[in-house]
């Protein structure tokens, strides 16, 4: 199973990466894309939308099913990946390269606390294995 060590993970199968500029990049895990099968539709949150960690904010649909994406951290959406929207299948090919959206937290201390509640790679691998 492909679970990069440098990312944080939500039990709901999103990955999050804190960038040097303080924003957080979000995508879905390789396990999630594998479980979904051929992805044909990606709807990231609108830019400017304020997200609350744990709340639904985006949708990824495969031929088989629609899957809600939950915000791993709180903050304002500052970017949505048009490449994922235009070529949804690219998420299947590279789940950690093809991110979905970027969040700018209002409060970096709160963001650090939220990131700390997410799983590390080993813990997530365990969750995914047991599904």
């Amino acid at each position: 199973m492909n679970v990069p060590a440098n990312l944080k993970y939500a039990k709901s199968h999103e990955w999050a990466r804190l960038e040097a500029d303080g924003t957080v990049t979000v995508g879905i895990t390789d396990h999630a894309q594998e479980a979904l099968g051929d992805i044909v539709f990606v709807e990231p949150p609108e830019i400017g939308r304020k997200l609350t960690s744990g709340a639904e904010c985006a949708v990824v649909e495969s031929v088989k099913a629609a899957s809600d994406i939950y915000a791993p951290v709180s903050g304002e959406v500052v970017a949505a990946n048009q490449a994922a929207v235009d070529s949804p299948e690219s998420v299947n090919q590279d789940a950690y390269g093809v991110w979905l959206f970027k969040v700018k937290p209002a409060d970096s201390a709160k963001c650090a606390a939220e990131l700390a509640t997410l799983l590390d790679a080993a813990a997530y691998a365990e969750v995914a294995k047991n599904e």
Binding site: G37, D38, V40, F41, E61, V63, A66
Partner: protein
């Protein structure tokens, strides 16, 4: 654990992703549902459909029995090997199942019914047989493999050159026996091909031979998107006992005219259908799903089967809408609480590799 077809081990070995389908552990795909879909549209793919049940009907009364039992008219079948699609209706005109009936002789027909309804169907057809001199024999000893695609027949002949003699001249919707095999030019994908009914003991070998001839194993996932593109109903989703065939896009399969009486006929004649089953194409990017609500100028309806069409690269659906809605209308589909416009179209969307609808 669910029931296993004779091909279960072959599926496991090929790395199939398995799912429960009507109590059976069946392959949903072997890697990519979309690739398998394209394989069938452009070349040849095969499906294990051994979970479906063949039932032999034999005896002197088999024609009057089937004329009473089925909404379509089996008397239309006069050439040996000819097949017919029909609904099995209850007294209210509700759809118990849809099936294919093969005519072999005045004393011998075979029907093939859906897996999820097989037990219910058997109980029903046995109950209806009380006044007829017939024998009903379920063929649990058969395996069924659907080989579908523009190259499907060639691949079968390549794997089994001996079958060419009996099957090359078969027109669509005809079948012929070759020893203990039944080779039928039928399917559920909108493409040419054969459905092979063979003894279960031979199934794994047949699968392996077809694989060696270049036929791609395909799962139920792409079987669903192929049949949806082809505008074919799925029992339990597009119709069931709560609707009639006239509300399900199946009026063409109901032989209402003439003297013949059949179960459900009186109910169907009683009132004009107020709903219809028709196609939708989403006018924006996205995927349509069953049970999404549809708002029209003539009232609300609901999607019964929806997906993403790999051929059209667009969301498509079958929907049950008010009868006054017409092809060409634009309706609104409620997707996660937002309205999205869709065009009403007459199915099929795709047949024989060609797109038949346009936005």
């Amino acid at each position: 654990m669910g029931k296993h077809t004779p091909l279960y081990d072959m599926h496991r070995r090929a790395g199939a992703k398995l799912t429960d389908f009507a109590g059976w552990d069946m392959p949903i795909h072997y890697g990519s549902q979309i690739e398998e879909h394209r394989q069938v549209r452009t070349n040849a793919g095969m499906f294990d459909v051994s979970h479906m049940l063949g039932i032999e009907l034999t005896g002197p009364d088999v024609l009057p029995y089937l004329s009473h039992l089925l909404a379509n008219d089996v008397a239309r079948l006069t050439q040996a090997g000819k097949a017919l699609y029909s609904c099995l209706l209850d007294e209210d005109g509700g759809v118990i199942d849809d099936l294919i009936v093969y005519f072999f002789s005045a004393l011998h027909y075979r029907i093939v019914v859906n897996a999820g309804t097989a037990a219910k169907d058997l109980a029903w057809i046995e109950r209806q047989a009380a006044d007829f001199d017939i024998a009903i024999t379920p063929r649990h000893d058969l395996a069924m493999i659907a080989v579908q695609g523009p190259q499907a027949r060639e691949r079968v002949w390549q794997a089994y050159p001996g079958t060419r003699a009996v099957s090359e001249s078969l027109k669509p919707f005809f079948a012929a026996f070759d020893g203990d095999w039944l080779i039928a030019r039928t399917g559920y994908t909108g493409e040419d091909g054969f459905e092979l009914a063979v003894p279960a003991s031979q199934a794994a070998d047949v699968w392996a031979q077809l694989l060696a001839a270049g036929v791609a194993p395909c799962g139920l996932g792409c079987r669903d998107t192929l049949r949806l593109e082809a505008g074919m109903n799925l029992y339990g989703q597009d119709m069931d006992e709560s609707v009639t065939p006239l509300e399900s896009g199946l009026a063409w399969t109901v032989a209402l005219s003439g003297e013949r009486d059949f179960i459900g006929k009186a109910a169907l004649l009683k009132q004009a259908p107020r709903r219809q089953l028709i196609g939708l194409m989403l006018l924006e990017r996205g995927v349509l799903r069953s049970h999404q609500k549809v708002h029209t100028a003539h009232g609300d309806g609901e999607i019964t089967s929806g997906s993403f069409s790999p051929t059209l690269e667009q969301g498509i659906a079958l929907a049950r809408l008010p009868a006054a809605v017409a092809a060409g209308d634009v309706v609104e589909v409620d997707i996660r609480g937002k309205e999205h416009p869709a065009r009403v179209v007459k199915p099929p969307f795709v047949r024989n590799g060609k797109i038949l609808v346009s936005i």
